[in-house]
Symmetry: C2
Subunit: 316 residues, 2 copies
C-alpha cells in the first residue's frame, strides 16, 4: 500500500462513519463520503460542525475541516482516486459481501480497504473479491473513533502482512492506538474483555450483592481509573512489585478461588427470568439518572484524558 494517504473514502455515515470522518478531516485528510440513508448529508454536516473541534491534537481548524470533504450519492466514480477506504455499512453478510466485491473490483489494487465491522470477520465477506483480497482487513474502532484511540486491526487468513503493517502505521499517524489481533476470534479482543466483566457484573447485581449504581462506581472510582492508564497485565505486574511471576505465584491461588466461586454463580444470559430481573434492577437506577449529563461529562473528561496521555507521551 502507498505510504502517502491523502484522500480517504468513508462508506456509511452513521455514528461510526461520521466520527471517523471528523477524525480524518481534523488530521488533515480529504474525505469522500457516501451514505444512502435519507437526510444523511445534512446529518453529517451537523455532526462535523459539532465534533471536528473535539478531536484531540487536531492539525486542521474546525472551519477548514468542513471544506475538505465531499458527500456523494454514489461513490463508484470516485473509487479510482481514493488512497484508502474505511467502510461502516450495516453488519449484514450479504450486504458486506456485495459491497466488498464491488470495492475490490473498482479501486486501484494496492489501496487498503478497512471495515469497521465489530462482529463479522472479514474472511466471511471477502469471498467474492478476486482483484486483491490481501489488502482487506478489519479496522474496528471504539466509539466514538474521533475520541477513543483504540483500533483493533484484524486480518483475515489471506490478508498480507504488509497491509497489517500499513493499517497500523496509518492509524498511528492519526494518533490512534492500533492493536493487532493475530487471528479472527469472536468479538475480537475488546468485546470479549467487556463481556467478561459484564457477565460478573450482571451476576453480582442480580444476586443483590451490590446495587447497579455501586457496581459501576466500583469500576469508575477504582478499577477503571487504573485501567485507563495501565492494562490488566501491567496492573498485575505493578501489583507484584514489578514482577508478574511474583504476582502469579502469590495471587494466582486467590484469583483461582474467586474465579471458581464466580463459575458457581454465573449469570445465565439465556434465562429470560434472570435477564428480565436484571433489566428491572438496572432500570430502577437508570430511570433516576440524567443520561445527557452523564454523557456530556464523560465526553469532556474523555477528551481531556486522551489529550493528557498524548501530551505525556509526546514529552518523553
Amino acid at each position: 500500500m502507498s505510504s502517502s494517504i491523502q484522500t480517504v473514502g468513508v462508506i456509511g455515515a452513521g455514528v461510526i462513519g461520521a466520527s471517523w470522518t471528523a477524525l480524518f478531516l481534523a488530521k488533515g485528510l480529504k474525505v469522500i463520503v457516501t451514505d444512502p440513508a435519507p437526510g444523511a448529508e445534512a446529518k453529517l454536516r451537523d455532526y462535523l460542525q459539532e465534533y471536528c473541534s473535539e478531536v484531540p491534537n487536531a492539525t486542521v481548524a474546525p472551519g477548514a475541516c468542513l471544506k475538505n470533504y465531499t458527500f456523494v450519492e454514489d461513490i463508484e466514480p470516485y473509487l479510482g482516486s481514493l488512497d484508502l477506504i474505511q467502510e461502516n455499512g450495516p453488519e449484514r453478510l450479504d450486504f458486506k459481501s456485495r459491497l466488498f466485491a464491488q470495492l475490490d473490483a473498482k479501486t486501484p489494487p494496492h489501496i487498503l480497504i478497512a471495515s469497521s465491522s465489530s462482529g463479522l470477520p472479514s474472511s466471511e465477506f471477502v469471498t467474492g473479491c478476486s482483484n486483491n483480497p490481501s489488502r482487506i482487513l478489519i479496522g474496528h474502532p471504539f466509539n466514538p473513533p474521533h475520541l477513543v484511540p483504540l483500533v483493533e486491526v484484524v486480518p483475515h487468513p489471506g490478508t498480507s502482512r504488509d497491509y497489517v503493517t500499513g493499517a497500523y502505521k496509518f492509524y498511528k499517524s492519526l494518533d490512534k492506538e492500533p492493536v493487532v489481533v493475530n487471528q479472527e476470534t469472536p468479538g475480537f479482543i475488546a468485546n470479549r474483555l467487556q463481556a467478561a466483566i459484564c457477565a460478573e457484573a450482571y451476576s453480582l447485581v442480580s444476586r443483590g450483592i451490590v446495587s447497579a449504581e455501586d457496581l459501576d462506581k466500583t469500576v469508575t472510582s477504582g478499577l477503571g481509573l487504573r485501567w485507563a492508564l495501565t492494562g490488566p497485565i501491567m496492573t498485575n505486574t505493578l501489583g507484584g512489585g514489578g514482577d508478574f511471576t511474583y504476582f502469579m505465584d502469590h495471587l494466582g491461588p486467590a484469583l483461582k478461588s474467586w474465579l471458581d466461586d464466580m463459575a458457581m454463580n454465573q449469570f445465565d444470559l439465556g434465562s429470560e427470568e434472570q435477564v428480565n430481573g436484571l433489566k428491572k434492577n438496572v432500570n430502577g437506577w437508570i430511570s433516576q439518572v440524567d443520561l445527557k449529563k452523564v454523557e456530556g461529562n464523560r465526553d469532556l473528561l474523555l477528551a481531556n484524558l486522551v489529550k493528557s496521555k498524548l501530551d505525556q507521551t509526546a514529552n518523553q
Copy 2:
C-alpha cells in the same frame, strides 16, 4: 458511632497504612499510627513527606500534615481516645482475630473499627469480640488509598446498619467513593471483576491471539478510558442509546456467543504448564519496559484524573 471524627488510629504502616495516613492527614484529621516492623517510623515519615502533597483536594498543607500524626510503639494506651480505627495488619486469621479481640475490648464501644482486609471477611475474625462486634466491618481500599477513591464497605452479618452508614459517610467526607457490598463474597466486588478480565486476558495472550502489550493497550486506549468515566452497566446503557433493555435485547445474543466461546477457551490457572507459558510470554514484554517510568506516568495522570472528576462533580 460519633459523627465528629477527629483522631484516627492507623494500625500497620505498610504501603496501605501509610497511604491511608497520608489521606487522613491531608484531610485534616489527627492520626495515631503504629507498626512493629523495624524502621517503620522512619519509612512512614519519608512516605508522608513524599505523598501528602499528592492527595487531591487536600485541606491541610503538606508541612502541617507532618505535625498532626504520632507514631507510637504500642497503641494500647491510646485506644481509649480514638474516634475511629483503620486496621492494615497482615492477612492472617490468627493475627487479626487476636488484634480485633484486643481492639474491641479496649476502645470505647461506639467507635467504628474498619479493616483494610482484601481477602479475609470480618465475620471470620470478629469471633473473639464480645464488647461490640456490630461496629466492625471491612473498609477495603484500592491501592494507593490516598489517590484512588474506591473503598469497598463490607459488613459481616452482625454489623449494624448504622455503622455501614457511618463508614460510608466518613469515607465520603474524605472525597472517597465508598460502595456497599451487601454480603460477604469471596474477593468482594473489585477483585472479582478484575479476575474476570484477567482470566480472559491470560487466555487471549496464551493462545497467541494478541500480544501481552497489545492486550493491555486494548484496555488503556479503549475499554479503560470509558470505564474510568462510566461503569460497565452505564456503558451498556449508553451503548443502547440510553436504554439498558434495548442493549440487552439487541446485544445480549452476541454477548452470549462471545461468553460461550470464552468458556470453551478458558485459561487454566491450575495448570503449571499454562501458567509458566504465560509468565514467559508476559516477562518477554515486561523486561523491555521501564516500570519506574510507567508507574510515575500513571500516578501523575491518575492524580489529575481524580482531581478532574472531583472538580466536575463539585461544579454541578
